[in-house]
């Protein structure tokens, strides 16, 4: 379990359900480490403002997180966290390693403009 205030996905089926129920989804798959915590914090900070986006986290070491770890969009990724942006169930963007407030919101504004 990750200690964040964000919705935590705990299985591949849970992720699938989230994608079916929400048009725009951002999932940060990481650990409680220095590269991941700042991204969770950005997500917590902007969750209210970006009400059209469902924000979630997933523990990188959870066996079911293979659905993100092994996603084709993450091939070559070598830095935590792996952050996925989905629109209508499809990956529209994926990033590796720490991202700041501006980098995250730039992607959200490009992909999920309301």
């Amino acid at each position: 379990m990750l200690q964040t205030n964000l919705h935590e996905v705990e299985s591949a089926a849970g992720l699938q359900k989230l994608l079916e129920e929400n048009e725009n989804v951002m999932v940060c798959c990481g650990r409680m480490g220095p590269m991941c915590i700042p991204v969770y914090e950005v997500m917590e900070e902007i969750e209210e403002e970006y009400s059209q986006v469902k924000f979630a986290v997933m523990a990188f070491d959870h066996p079911e997180a293979g659905v993100i770890r092994n996603a084709p969009e993450c091939r070559g990724f070598m830095g935590l966290p792996f952050t996925m942006y989905y629109k209508n169930g499809k990956v529209v963007k994926a990033t590796s390693s720490i991202q700041n407030h501006k980098q995250v919101t730039t992607i959200l504004n490009e992909q999920f403009a309301s």
Binding site: P34, P38, E45, F77, M78, S97, I98
Partner: protein, 306 residues
């Protein structure tokens, strides 16, 4: 319309949060403005084992306790903001955020801390998360069975190089000088590790690859000779820079960009105090940041009373 506070604190690391605890506990209306994640460098630290009174704690947990303490005393904290304008010379100080919000107070504590120094070479940004890393504990396991370059020659570089040999088959340390700036035991441990080799008096000039890091260009400084070396990743540990660019010219600094303070943490401008890793000092630790933050808040409170 500006929001008015008694005290504004720039930065929510150990120094800023401590200043926030003392200031709000003294019943001063206090606001902390923080550019990144609350906790600053503490959240970069997996384990803090030298904070007195706490045997061992993760930096994230310690930062969260400090944040809660500050909030419980009534301190307002705004994180992930960016200050675009400072007006610090008049009796009432003013800052403006990127989104146009303006805040005023009669005293300000600058606690902007520091950040890892980047290499600043071609390929660094492109390959971040694709072979370039600044955190061995975070990303080491992606390099299992691979070959790595570690850049740096201080304690962090040597200790992290040793820890990366748990995963990598070979670690090459590239360092700009002919000797290390590290404790003897750290140097010995690295030298005795059969997986570690050294390229001294050299610097990385470029990082190359298609999608991921594949090669680095290394310059031997005395001769200027450049060679290419195949590698799967580069870990960078070349020290820290003070986050003081945004207040450059507003308060006195030394030539490294560290804010000059006196024993009461006063800067060159009346009503402006500074604390933590961003000031001129020898030892940068959580304990020293906390001490600076305490002194800065108490001095600022006294300034406000007078």
């Amino acid at each position: 319309m500006a929001d008015v506070y008694d005290m504004m604190i720039v930065g929510a690391g150990a120094a800023g949060l401590t200043a926030g605890i003392y200031s709000s506990r003294a019943k001063l209306k206090t606001l902390i403005l923080n550019e990144g994640a609350v906790g600053g460098q503490m959240v970069l630290t997996h384990e803090i084992a030298n904070y007195p009174g706490v045997e061992s704690i993760s930096g994230y947990a310690l930062a969260n306790i400090m944040k809660k303490q500050a909030r419980d005393f009534g301190c307002a904290i705004k994180s992930n903001i960016r200050i675009v304008r400072y007006a610090l010379n008049d009796a009432v100080k003013e800052v403006e955020l990127e989104d146009g919000r303006v805040f005023r107070s009669r005293a300000v504590i600058l606690a902007p801390g520091g950040r890892p120094r980047p290499l600043g070479i071609s390929g660094e940004e492109k390959f971040k998360g694709k072979g370039i890393s600044y955190c061995a504990t975070c990303d080491g396991d992606f390099f299992t069975g691979k070959e790595l370059v570690v850049v740096g020659g201080g304690n962090s570089a040597l200790e992290e190089a040793v820890s990366l040999t748990k995963y990598a088959t070979k670690v090459t340390i590239v360092h700009q000088f002919d000797h290390f700036q590290a404790f003897e035991h750290a140097v010995r441990e690295a030298r005795e590790n059969p997986k570690i080799s050294f390229i001294m008096e050299s610097e990385l000039r470029e990082i190359k690859g298609a999608d991921n890091v594949e090669r680095v260009v290394i310059e031997h400084l005395p001769t200027g000779d450049r060679t290419e070396m195949a590698t799967d990743g580069v870990f960078v540990f070349i020290g820290y820079l003070p986050n003081t660019e945004s207040v450059k010219g507003l308060v006195a600094m030394n030539d490294r960009g560290e804010i000059v303070v006196d024993g009461a943490m006063r800067t060159s401008v009346p009503g402006i105090f500074a604390a933590g890793d961003g000031i001129v000092k020898r030892y940068r630790q959580v304990t020293t940041a906390v001490a600076d933050g305490t002194i800065a808040a108490l001095s600022a409170a006294e300034f406000l009373r007078n």
